[in-house]
Symmetry: D2
Subunit: 398 residues, 4 copies
């Protein structure tokens, strides 16, 4: 039963979520040292979570003797450097999402990590929510047939630190902050071996005084013909809306990760304290989730990461996945500019995926478009004529 000692880089909201998870329940892994640019924030964080050491030196944190795993919870523009340092130190690295600010940057990170031979995991928590894992499994076992369409939506009233809103530091706006989740969720449902061919995106800055987009919608066409669709917004009102919908030839899956999960509370405003991430108020009807770090995937994510490390296998979410996500986001930004579909420029390692299966039966040589049983027991066939393609009705006895 191996356990791990972690250097936590960064003390923002994501650092809290990560550490809450690592120290949660009966976990056997621990954070040994935390890095922050600010000595004050580092100290407060280490006290909050019972972490033995804190430092303002990246090197000290990464090279700390006890540490075998480095968790990167820093702003996007710092990822490349610190992952480089970690690779040079030969330690395992787990990096928060998105991996980088562009496909190019992501590719350099990927190359660095692969050439150094270290273990690397992409901390894409929303692909690890218990519902998502179960749903991916259901899709994989054929419960809904071939996937034709996936909608992934992530919207809330906006992030909590300045750098997120700054195009240069973040690499973009709501697409980079939220779309990265959606894209990887979509990939898990359509199949990771299903090549993302091209992207069409709309993006606009509707409300906030920033240069980055605060609203965007994008369509991703996959090799199988399946369509991915993501919707992101920093102007949503009412909390945090995280929903995924998957349509298949044999079924449908709807997941709701936040506002409608079976916890509904009305309060006239008494009491107090934290109810859930990004709720706008603590009165009226509120919809918190039960255990946020479990529901939002952090628990299963770190389990997979550390188990993969122990077992010498790849985790579910790899740096290559992070790179593909960045490549898709690049195409989205290009499309928002060019106003047309843009190809996804990615070094593809996946397989070739066949087209979604059409299974039309035949009747007298004509293809059956639809078959319905009438109230009187007779069968109504809608047939596509073998020669003309014209569709016509035919009512027959059962």
């Amino acid at each position: 039963m191996e356990s791990h000692n972690v250097a936590m880089l960064g003390t923002g909201l994501i650092g809290d979520f990560y550490t809450m998870t690592l120290h949660g329940q009966r976990s056997r892994d621990r954070v040994s040292i935390v890095y922050s640019r600010s000595s004050e924030r580092g100290e407060a964080f280490s006290q909050r979570w019972g972490i033995p050491h804190h430092t303002t030196s990246l090197e000290e944190a990464i090279h700390h003797d006890e540490v075998d795993v480095v968790v990167v919870g820093l702003p996007n523009f710092l990822h490349e450097d610190v992952i480089g340092l970690t690779a040079d130190a030969g330690k395992a690295v787990l990096c928060t999402k998105p991996l980088a600010r562009s496909g190019e940057e992501a590719k350099r990170i990927l190359d660095k990590v692969e050439s150094s031979g270290i273990f690397a995991g992409y901390l894409e928590d929303l692909c690890y929510t218990p519902k998502t894992l179960k749903a991916i499994n259901a899709v994989g076992s054929g419960s809904i047939g071939d996937v034709t369409w996936v909608r992934s939506r992530e919207t809330h009233p906006g992030p909590h630190s300045a750098w997120f809103w700054d195009k240069d530091k973040a690499g973009g706006g709501a697409i980079v902050d939220l779309g990265c989740h959606c894209i990887e969720i979509i990939r898990n449902f359509v199949g990771k071996g299903n090549r993302p061919v091209e992207v069409m995106a709309w993006a606009d800055t509707l409300v906030h005084p920033i240069r980055a987009e605060d609203n965007a919608v994008a369509l991703i066409r996959f090799e199988s013909g399946a369509l991915g669709q993501f919707e992101v917004s920093w102007t949503f009102r009412g909390g945090m809306d995280l929903r995924d919908e998957v349509a298949g030839t044999e079924g449908t899956i709807w997941l709701n990760h936040f506002l409608r999960t079976g916890y509904e509370m009305y309060s006239s405003g008494g009491g107090g304290g934290y109810a859930a991430e990004k709720l706008e108020s603590n009165e009226g009807w509120l919809f918190p989730v039960g255990d946020e770090v479990a529901e939002l995937g952090y628990v299963d994510m770190f389990t997979d990461m550390f188990d993969a490390l122990d077992e010498g296998r790849e985790p579910q979410e790899t740096f290559y996945d992070g790179y593909v996500v960045n490549a898709i986001m690049d195409a989205a930004y290009k499309s928002a500019e060019s106003r047309q579909w843009e190809p996804v420029d990615v070094e593809w390692r996946g397989a070739t995926t066949p087209r979604i299966t059409k299974k039309a039966g035949e009747h007298d040589g004509h293809s059956i478009v639809k078959k319905e049983t009438l109230p009187d027991g007779r069968v109504k066939l809608m047939l596509s004529h073998k020669d003309t393609g014209e569709v016509f009705d035919l009512v027959t006895s059962a």
Copy 2:
């Protein structure tokens, strides 16, 4: 208290829904004559609904003495002709959706009707559901601020007659059958005076052996900057999924018209009979709606149509609206081909709509991106620098 006598043209599913509504509750209006190409179907229909007359002659139906209102419930390719006949007869006409197979055809119909001076109403039932009416009213009264985004989704396992599946007779596939609803719902939420500028669409035939699209997603950009988004499918599994979502700068509205309306039933399969339109089964968990013709808008729609006729005013949904819808669908088909945004080619009668309001406050001349109250009572400002546009954090005492 005026009442009306109707000639019902067509005996398909829509004819049943219309007549069920017209003869429903304590209504004072009645269908006097029904037209069907098939004498057999016309007779069965007239008996089913207690209608005094039936005929296989369009002229006879339209010119029938008692009749003052003609309701067109015929396939799309027949609309132009029968509306022409009705206009010539000088009677009021109410036409089912879509108005036509193209913007051009719709424009000819509109011109014909306007030059003849008859009353004309566009039977867009889903813009009249009680929830939709209440929501449009809430938006109009400012409850959710400026509308930024509308999603309208209509999907089910496909229509019940051959002509729907036939591109020539219908004018298209799922976009024409279902998208016409979505587009007009979106227009009601962003404001009918808000010009639809351009459309980007994806359409594909994923499952059925037909030439028309069985799945499509489209984005519509309006003059205010708001985005409309519609999703249509003839391959949805699980019933009929009709949902609308509206995001505004001050709020959010979610409407569910079918599968989650507060009626949930599990049945091991006993009993029988019709539970709801397009449910796939009568066992397992089922989600019928209560009163379909009321919930789907037919009741409020005919009330508005006949009241408008009595009061000498326009109904909420006019032939001009039907024409705009067709123009938007034309742009969608063009975009699905050209793979880029396509302008909406429409003779615009609406106003000019200003851009969605940005209301950023200022602090020391910098624009406030976001303002949060920290647990210790201090205020965290995320500010966009007045000179550089860089976003930075500033924590101040409240």
Copy 3:
């Protein structure tokens, strides 16, 4: 096509709902005169609804020439007298719920009406909601087998006029105001011919400074063995909670009439106006219903009443039903005092209902308690031993 002219007695909230319904959509019936004790309120009401006449004289209203139907929307303590006057006038009477303040009073009203021979209908709107009607029909057609249990819940923050809170004028508190709905809903689901045998109730005045109960729960045992359960409260927070749950041997039905009907809105508080009955606020997450008078049953109720009148048949809800409801409430109050089950003292006109069916199969003479298929295909039987009644497991090959 007959139509009716109504004398509306009372101008409270219920009078508004009734008149909104009677004058709603394309209705052919009208209110001709309204009675109020207050001339001012009567005038305002008549203007609000376009009613030709108003009066402060009960006699004038009831005897008005045009009027053929009298609708009683007055406080409970006035029902007996005005129904008597209407019976003497020989006009049809429709009385709001509850019929009376006690079973005894209800019985006198019933006797008076039956001896006079007039048409009488019991305005129990919540038994006429479209969902309820469809669900009653589903139960009747066997979709959920034999009904074993019904829960009906009606709670909100309390009524809007003083007399409701006054035990003497109302005949009780929340049980009389809300329980009357629940009881009749339960009766419709277990079958109106299913005799209510006895009642066990808890009632308490937990929050308000009144003598009547503001919270109560009661159990009603029916002849078939089915259990009815109602929950009423005037202290609920969060709006109006109207839910029914029905369990059967072959299925389950859950109805939600108010807070979760597919209309969900978040508002930061802008806009304004009426959103729905008894919502506590117009900001935060709100859950109005679409068309209240339709969703809450008023439309179908008046349709049934007037159709019944026209067709010379009984309506679904009769004064006899109102009397049974009062008798059950009497038993509830008695039980809340005596702290034991109390028999329902009612002149029973219904049939005898057999016990809920037990359908246990047999295996080697032992009764099968449960049968499960194991993952390996074998069948596990839980058997009740024919001699000892001991339950034992038996695993057999399929």
Copy 4:
């Protein structure tokens, strides 16, 4: 960082859930040995979960060198004996629910454990679901004011082993199997120091050929005036229905633990495998939960148990709680027989709880029953007269 080695007694469904939890995620605790009466089942279980030892000897399991914690997952009638053995061995014991078959048996177990001084935890998982923990915390912090009413409902189509259905071995039927959960959930919400005073219960055997009850409803009156209400059934159709509702003077909480938790799937029946506990089918609309052992409370339960053991404190759920639950169930059975309220016979260790607060304001000496703001801005007061108690309306300017 201490860790524990467990002897797992029993290889039924509950043993699987417990072991899945103990070995789940990055847990540091492990099952060292499993006991089963059947050598075959013990071996299969140990292989399924990677447990080093298995035995058919209770003594061997309990006395095993590595073991410091004994988990009792055996049928109810075996609890007293094996807890006695564990106490004699001086090891910590965690016992599944219910603690015993009666209050008397539970009291003997409690006494034994307390006199031996071992650590003892009551494995009441449903009081540890993340939603329940968060809700208990919200109630404790005053978010919903004083609790007035709690409904806890647990129903499904019946358990999977014969002994559950056998009154002698289980100590009862659905009340003992399911009601024990509900009662302890209710206690957590009304406050564990809030004495359960008396119980009124209905129980019947409606469907199954058994002597135990398969359906029951009970009311529990607490010292504060709050009412607990539980509903249990072994005849529910549609899956597993676990819901809790809490009403307070300032708010409302609704928890849904199973059928509506944000995972909705329609499947035409393809694929396969386990979807969730007690789902009746794998086609149609299905409502599995994400991570069952987390959602149903097992994870947080064992964390609390082992943390309590490590920290030398009591866990949230103790054997005393188990004893109180058994005492309440005894009163329920007595009441189902006597058909009246029955006092709860328990050695009370809790505090005295004051009556729910009434906070009526006053106006001119009269108590304010309700206060409403009219559309015109005036205020309507419903007042209880200081002398007569009569309730009257008073409209004043704001």
